[in-house]
């Protein structure tokens, strides 16, 4: 699926701003971004239920939207799992799943068998004759997933399918979505605002902001080499603060001085960074922060503000002077509230870049 210079306006509001995106066959692409970033609009344009203002969409080398072309959604051979499930309330579970097969050339027996197989595969065979309003949220979403798989199409679209589910169901269904989609060999475009969900599912992640595709890369690269401050923040930072100075070192790293530790120097990866730029900020991932006892030589002084047990260990909120608060700082050992500690940073999880970067450069 290829999107070229795709734009979409709603009156004066720019929902998509010249987006370019290529999705390889069989890959699982996640579009990540905050509300209003354009990810839903992009998905709906691909599905054909929104018409782009300009640009081209190609699916399987066939142009489905362009300057003089618009292929109706029913002709695009896609399937979609909706955020609100969109199950037809007057049809049973079985009939909801069978809907996409109505136009196929299979025999009735083959269609019935396919539906039964899918019911079995998603674990809801016992619910076949029920109606949607008799099902829980997780069950409804399974039906929606089975319906999308029944279509047996090459491209499946997911519109934040897990956002209405509670945490334990979400995790379970995420795994099923990933497994079933890959088993089917389909190409998937999945949208979410949850960074951890995106990283868990995706082969490649596209980060959107204000209608622009800011970065499109593997989850690892996005995490380790974010393109700008927006991507860095959206994919999770423990904390950030303004830098006093930044001196370039080898290999794109910088020697950074921070206001709360003038005698220390910190090493951080520079992202489009120019020494002397007054807007430079220092960012650190939670995975790059280590908590030490106050007597340790390594690190700068800090105070524990809050601590929470998460099963594997403890997550702390730590205040470093008045300049920086660090969240989600993990330690197997528990440090109590108001305790003095020392924090040290792993340079591979530290970045220095302009503070206001938000759109793609």
């Amino acid at each position: 699926m290829v999107v070229e210079q795709l734009c979409k306006d709603f009156g004066e509001k720019v929902a998509l701003d010249c987006v370019d995106l290529t999705v390889e066959p069989g890959s699982f692409v996640v579009l990540l971004g905050p509300s209003g970033s354009g990810k839903t609009t992009l998905l709906r344009c691909v599905a054909g239920i929104e018409r782009p203002s300009s640009g081209v969409i190609t699916i399987n080398d066939v142009c489905v939207a362009g300057p003089r072309t618009f292929v109706q959604p029913e002709k695009r051979k896609t399937a979609m799992v909706f955020q609100d499930y969109a199950l037809w309330p007057h049809l049973t579970v079985k009939k909801n799943i069978a809907f996409p097969l109505a136009m196929s050339s299979r025999s009735k027996e083959q269609k019935d068998q396919r539906v039964d197989d899918l019911l079995e595969r998603v674990g809801i065979s016992h619910l076949a004759s029920r109606y949607p309003n008799e099902l829980s949220g997780g069950e409804q979403q399974r039906v929606a997933l089975a319906r999308a798989l029944a279509a047996d199409v090459g491209l499946i679209l997911f519109d934040e399918p897990l956002s209405n589910l509670d945490a334990d169901r979400r995790e379970q269904l995420r795994i099923e979505i990933a497994t079933l989609t890959r088993e089917a060999g389909a190409t998937a475009i999945y949208i979410t605002h949850d960074q951890s969900e995106a990283f868990a599912l995706a082969d490649r992640v596209g980060v959107l902001n204000y209608g622009s595709l800011v970065q499109f890369d593997t989850p690892e690269n996005i995490y380790r080499h974010p393109k700008n401050a927006f991507v860095t923040r959206f994919t999770g930072v423990a904390g950030e603060c303004a830098v006093t100075s930044a001196t370039p070192l080898d290999d794109d790293f910088f020697d950074v001085a921070l206001p709360f530790a003038p005698s220390h120097s910190f090493k951080a990866l520079g992202i489009d960074c120019r020494a002397g730029d007054p807007s430079l900020h220092f960012f650190v991932r939670a995975s790059g922060v280590a908590l030490n006892a106050p007597g340790d030589d390594d690190g700068v002084r800090a105070e524990v503000i809050d601590v929470a047990f998460n099963g594997r260990g403890y997550e702390h909120v730590v205040k470093v002077d008045d300049q920086m608060t660090l969240t989600k700082v993990f330690s197997v050992r528990r440090f109590e509230r108001n305790a003095n500690v020392k924090v040290s940073f792993d340079s591979s999880a530290c970045f220095v870049m302009a503070a206001q970067g938000s759109r793609s450069s």
Binding site: R51, D84, W88, P89, F99, Y131, N133, A151
Partner: protein, 601 residues
């Protein structure tokens, strides 16, 4: 328009969530053509006839009805004497009736929807039956019951003390309140459905007693209450049935009757009639506009999807349950049962109301006379057949047009064109049937129209057009609510999964709308059958609809036969409804009946 106005319940019953924005580009081409066609239709159906008629109020010469290009003479004339009294009476009666109807309806709605009162479905059904019953039939029933030696005395009840009271403003208020009750009930019911139990729970948990809890949650349904008052006022102002039957006979003029008499007397005074019409419309537009604004602002979260849940009910003890059931039953009996009882008895008892004391006795002669008249008078047969034919055509055409208009009304991308259509339809609800009828007489008799556009004056197609024009705004708003409730994603899911537009509509929208389509059709059909104002004004020579035939019998002191005809017509209306619903139940899949908009919950 009052006789067929069912609309306003719709826009208030189920206002629905904000529909998802759709691309202007995709629909722009189709919309321009469709929008233009809709405007043309609405122009000839409603705007032109009513507009041209209203102009006569100040410019009679424009249509050769007087010598002045501009004058306020007729305005002054309309506000004095008999006609002025009619306007004043309509105003205060409508105000009083709206408050009475809403307070009664709110009590009934709360009991039916939020408690375990007995026979809930029956009370809801009775509200629908009340909606179907025309006011002139109600008046007839009460008259037959209470007149000296009437039906009440025939069954041994002395109601002479009530007779004098009823045949005056009190009777008018009772009948009009009964007529307004279902409108208020459905609007308030919708408001209560949006009032989840969590609001009361939150108040109680945080220390509020029952009274304070009630006062805390009341503002949540205040929009529904305001809407109900507005619509009840508008419906009462527009009513012709009571004005024509009761108001005239008790010398208590109402505006709709004075308008009718202005054009039916000789010489006809179209200009005064136009002033009265303008006053009626001006007085009814603000309440209807208020209702529309209020319901648009107060968002309902009732959405037709697979996730709809039922509200919780308060459990009465057995004594409270019994008393409340009896109370509601009494109100329903007074509103619905009494007129039906009066009419039925009046149709089976001869010498009813005969002051000579010849003695009332059971008879079938009135029914025999109704079907096979011994004189040259009309039987009910042909008029009723004609009314049925009109009902069939009008209901079907109106239903199709209403669906198209309803979809346009709830679409989010229509812009100013959609807004104008919305205002037109909204304003049209405020046009009383009698005004529409007179407007049609006037407009479709203009020489320019008969020579160059269409010549249908004094024909059945003209009557049919007027009936469609009368029913369309109401039917559209009736459907707009359920249409707006259907999640757009249901249609989108069908399209994405391979269904074309028609299959999408057939497999998703139509099943969810099937009940509202059927009920909309039935309401329009029955309203057409019993329609009086437009029929009285526009019926072609020798082609009387049933309501006109019945009125002519009643006016010629053949009330027994007229009452029998009324009962037969009423029985046919209810019979058609029962048969249609039975067929619906038999032929439609279970899923269609499980979901969507429900008449009786």
């Amino acid at each position: 328009m009052a006789d067929v106005t069912i609309s306003t319940t719709a826009s208030a019953v189920v206002p629905g969530p904000e529909p998802r924005t759709r691309d202007r580009g995709l629909d722009k081409r189709r919309f321009s053509l469709g929008g233009t066609a809709i405007w043309i239709v609405l122009f000839f159906l409603i705007v032109a006839p009513v507009g041209c008629f209203l102009i006569l109020a100040v410019s009679p010469r424009l249509f050769q009805q007087g010598s002045q290009w501009f004058t306020l003479t007729f305005v002054r004339q309309a506000f004095t004497g008999y006609t002025g009294q009619g306007i004043f009476n309509s105003l205060w009666v409508s105000t009083l009736v709206s408050f009475l109807a809403v307070s009664t309806a709110t009590t009934i709605a709360w009991l039916v929807h939020r408690t375990n009162i007995g026979a809930r479905r029956l009370w809801s059904l009775c509200m629908w039956l009340l909606l179907l019953m025309p006011t002139w039939m109600m008046t007839l029933g009460w008259t037959d019951l209470l007149e000296p030696h009437g039906a009440a005395s025939a069954i041994g009840l002395n109601t002479s003390w009530l007779y004098g009271e009823f045949f005056g403003p009190l009777g008018i208020i009772i009948v009009l309140t009964s007529a307004a009750l279902p409108f208020a009930y459905f609007i308030v019911s919708a408001g209560l459905q949006g009032l989840g139990p969590e609001f009361e729970d939150a108040a109680r948990i945080h220390g509020a007693g029952r009274t304070r809890t009630f006062a805390t949650v009341l503002p949540i349904i205040a929009p529904a209450l305001l809407s109900a008052i507005a619509i009840s006022f508008a419906e009462t102002m527009s009513d012709f049935g009571v004005a024509f039957t009761l108001g005239y006979h008790v010398h208590f003029p109402l505006a709709t009757y004075t308008l009718f008499s202005a054009i039916s007397n000789f010489p006809a005074n179209f200009s005064v009639a136009a002033v009265i019409a303008a006053v009626l419309i001006i007085l009814t537009i603000p309440p209807i506009a208020l209702q529309s604004v209020v319901m648009r602002r107060s968002k309902s979260y009732a959405v037709l999807s697979g996730r709809t849940r039922a509200p919780r009910r308060r459990e009465f003890g057995s004594r409270s349950r019994y008393l409340s059931s009896v109370g509601v039953g009494l109100i329903v009996f007074i509103a619905l049962g009494v007129p039906i009882l009066g009419a039925v008895i009046g149709s089976f008892v001869q010498n009813l109301g005969d002051a000579t004391g010849a003695g009332a006795h059971f008879t079938l002669s009135y029914y025999s006379q109704a079907i096979h008249p011994s004189t040259v008078d009309n039987s009910l047969g042909s008029p009723l057949v004609l009314s049925n034919q009109l009902g069939l055509v009008v209901a079907t055409l109106t239903g199709v047009m209403a669906i198209v208009l309803a979809r346009r009304l709830v679409a989010s991308h229509g812009g100013w064109s959609q807004r104008i259509t919305d205002i037109l339809l909204l304003g049209s609800v405020a046009v009383p049937g009698v005004v529409l009828g007179v407007g049609y007489i006037f407009f479709y008799n203009l020489s320019f129209i008969t020579s160059h556009v269409v010549d249908i004056y004094k024909t059945l197609p003209l009557l049919m057009l007027a009936l469609i024009a009368s029913a369309l705004p109401g039917q559209t708003r009736f459907m707009a609510g359920p249409v707006s409730q259907i999640q757009p994603s249901l249609s989108e899911a069908a399209r994405v999964h391979g269904a074309g537009r028609f299959r999408t509509w057939r497999t998703t929208n139509m099943p969810l709308m099937s009940r509202v389509l059927v009920w909309g059709w039935l309401l329009t059909f029955t309203k057409t059958l019993s329609e009086l104002a437009i029929a009285q004004i526009l019926y072609p020579p020798s082609q009387e609809p049933a309501s006109v035939t019945i009125q002519s019998y009643l006016a010629n002191f053949q009330s027994g036969t007229g009452t029998a005809m009324t009962v037969l017509t009423l029985a046919e209306m209810f019979g058609v409804i029962i048969i249609a619903l039975a067929i619906y139940r038999l032929v439609t899949p279970e899923g269609w009946r499980r979901t969507g908009w429900s008449v009786v919950k």
